[in-house]
């Protein structure tokens, strides 16, 4: 009878531990002020998960080596001598490990969920850029008539990308910013990232899209705000004569027209 209680107590303690770990892993409120960079947070969570994996894997590996060495047959006719488990032990060997694995799962889930909320909550001051995928290049539309085939963004401001595709499924993979999402015809998907230092990196297409899939890439330039403004002004200027050159006559004529009557 007492033995039955022992099993229950052990299993109960394990489940309490499980609940405790899950609570410990529950996300805390975001730090007030300033933007948390999801890429940095990703690196932190990744390191924590790696520790988790090395510990769990290490325990299993060490136990395996011990078993393999300790219980090697000493003679050709030797058979195993493990006693069978009684009900208490059998239950304990199922419920306690299940509780421990679940505890670890909930810890990881809580950490993952917390980061996920950060990754999917677009900051209010984010700059929006429209991305269109084509076989095999990306097009960027800054919403003010400026378009480009490289992505240039200012440092210090979150960027949200609203993305779709003209042909097949592509995927917008930003290695430096630890984020990616598929882009496909008929739907608009989004990601955001936070360029916090001037750096030139690349975006790669990471959803298989045909012959030149592995060459579907372009530069992603995070530049200081002043440089960005200068770049944007230059783009707008270049655009103006181009826009003005063709419909030059009607554009010039239009105000005149409206004025005449």
């Amino acid at each position: 009878m007492l033995k039955r209680f022992e099993t229950l107590i052990t299993a109960g303690a394990a489940y309490l531990l499980m609940a405790g770990i899950a609570v410990a892993g529950t996300p805390h409120a975001a730090a007030p002020g300033g933007i948390k960079n999801p890429a940095h947070e990703w690196n932190i969570v990744w390191e924590e998960i790696l520790w988790d994996l090395w510990i769990v894997g290490g325990i299993f590996a060490i136990v395996a080596i011990w078993l393999l060495v300790k219980f090697r047959a000493k003679s050709p006719d030797q058979v195993g001598s493990a006693p069978p488990l009684n009900l208490d032990k059998a239950l304990a060997w199922a419920l306690v490990p299940a509780a421990l694995f679940m505890a670890d799962d909930f810890l990881l889930a809580a950490k993952g969920w917390s980061l996920w909320n950060l990754q999917r909550t677009v900051p209010a001051n984010a700059m929006e850029v429209k991305v269109t995928g084509n076989q095999w290049y990306f097009e960027y539309d800054y919403g003010n008539g400026v378009t480009d085939t490289d992505l240039t963004v200012p440092v210090g401001r979150p960027v949200v990308l609203r993305m779709t595709s003209n042909d097949v499924i592509h995927s917008f993979g930003l290695t430096e910013y630890r984020v990616k999402e598929d882009i496909m015809p008929g739907r608009i998907t989004h990601i955001w990232f936070y360029p916090d230092k001037p750096v030139e990196t690349a975006v790669v297409c990471v959803e298989f899209c045909g012959n030149s899939h592995s060459q579907m890439t372009n530069a992603v330039k995070a530049v200081p705000q002043a440089d960005f403004d200068a770049w944007m002004a230059k783009k707008l200027e270049k655009k103006k004569p181009a826009a003005a050159a063709q419909p030059a006559a009607p554009a010039a004529a239009e105000p005149a027209k409206t004025q005449t009557p």
């Binding site: 990703w42 969570v45 990744w46 988790d52 994996l53 894997g57 395996a64 078993l67 393999l68 219980f71 090697r72 047959a73 050709p76 030797q78 058979v79 195993g80 001598s81 493990a82 006693p83 069978p84 488990l85 009684n86 059998a90 060997w93 199922a94 490990p97 299940a98 679940m102 670890d104 799962d105 909930f106 990881l108 889930a109 993952g112 969920w113 996920w116 990754q119 097949v168 499924i169 995927s171 993979g173 290695t175 984020v179 990616k180 598929d182 496909m184 008929g186 739907r187 790669v204 297409c205 990471v206 959803e207 298989f208 899209c209 045909g210 012959n211 030149s212 899939h213 592995s214 060459q215």
Partner: protein, 555 residues
Amino acid sequence: MTTATSTDFHDKSGSTLKEWIFTTDHKRVGVLYLVGAIAAFIVAGIMALGIRLEQMSPGESGLINYFVLDFAKTMPTGTAYNVALYFHGAAMILAFLIPALTGFAANYLVPLMIGAPDVAFPRINALSLWLFWAGILVALMTFFVTDKPDIMWTGYPPYSVTTTANTALYVFTVHLIGFSSILGAVNFLVTIIYMRAPGMGWDQMNIFVWTTFAAFMIQIVFVPVLASAVTLLLFDKYMGTGFFDPTRGGDVLLYQNLFWFYSHPAVYVIFLPAVGLLFDIIATQARNHVFNYKACVYGGIIGILAITGEVWIHHLYIAGMPDWLRIGMMVSTLLISVPVGLLLISLWGTMYKGAIHYNVSMWYAVVCLFLILVGGLTGIPLAITSMTVHLSETSFVHAHFHFIMGLMATFAVFSAVYHWFPKITGRSADSAIAKWALWIKVIGTQVTFWPLFIIGVQGMPRRYWDYAMFPQFETYHTIATAGAFLIAIGVILMVGGWVWSAFYGPKTDSNPWKSKSIEWTHAESPPGPGNFPKPVAVDPYWTPYNYIEWDHDKY
């Protein structure tokens, strides 16, 4: 009512080609499955060498076209590479792993393990086999048509619809092998439920029989979903329908949901029988009973069965699914660690106080214990949505599933071939060369796949033949390519050893491992037609692992 005995079958035990082709004997069907699966493995493995050569450095190697038999180089490098990648993936999963485990191993072992003279429907079993072979032939047509399929084993639309390549070959391969699987599922579920030896309860079955039962439960429920997905693809491409075309009211994500609704459970169609084989091999070689049998079966195997259909969104974490769904399936995916953990504890515990007899089969199983840890644990970050937005579609994923399927499940198949080789041929395949082949493969696989983990975390995309934007990864790719050729040497030695041993290997007695499992204790090696000289019956305390007598009043 009489039970079939071996004498009834003597006229069907000839070895002419005709008798092999028209065989309905589960053992021959099993061997023919193995031959087809190994053939597919070798061709798909040659594709892997081509892929590794192409990835060895950024830019064109100029070699990949030869691998897909495009000697005139009519295809651009990217497309030729994609054809090789398509064939490698589709053939390894559909024509090697699934047929080797649920075709060869299930066919050869399940009736023998449960004491049945054959499967429930031997002719349907033969039909399954020939549908599988037809599937392999259709898959091999890839190399002989001008519009070779280049759509990856996943075949996502719209690309698979808009490409000029031959999507139909892919669809028909899936149809044939899928139909084969559904018939096999009916056959084996009926066999396991109704044809166990008199007296054999559910808790007295070999773990491999349980895992086969679970694998075929998955097949019978989920294969039709895959078949429907690829059939809609066929309609979209060749009949002008718009199921996956958003401009006509379709949805590109519909296909991915249908596809992974089957293809995630398919991972367990591979994983479960592979682990089942390991259980039986390790229990036999350790002459020990399975630790905590009921937790292993009802917690581990049935647990996986219960959870397997609720996790497929983890393949679509970056595909644009709703945020809440990605979080929901993150939790269900992480919870897979509970049944898998119970399986591992039972597997580890099976060695506790055992008497482990080391031979080449056991060494393969030992390697599998470590492969299962690496492959399983690297799945954990991939289960976490917010981690996967960076890791998805990188070579980290590629290395992860190669560890669990390409290495663990494959090594489990090889281990099984060595373990049951004396049963199948009456000869032993254990030799110094077999051990050399193993260790060459172990080194080769680690050298190939660890660099891919490292560069995967740093952002190396999957399915890239050119990586000019990441020149820093070239060294890693070169090392991985060297590893792939080591694996090839190991495979040649191993398969060569099998063929040689089948004819010239040292003869063994009918139970060289002194096993307590029915296929060793009641049948000859190799078993005759009808399997057992005398009908098998077991007593209430019999188990396939009863190496020591228990005090049954106490337990």
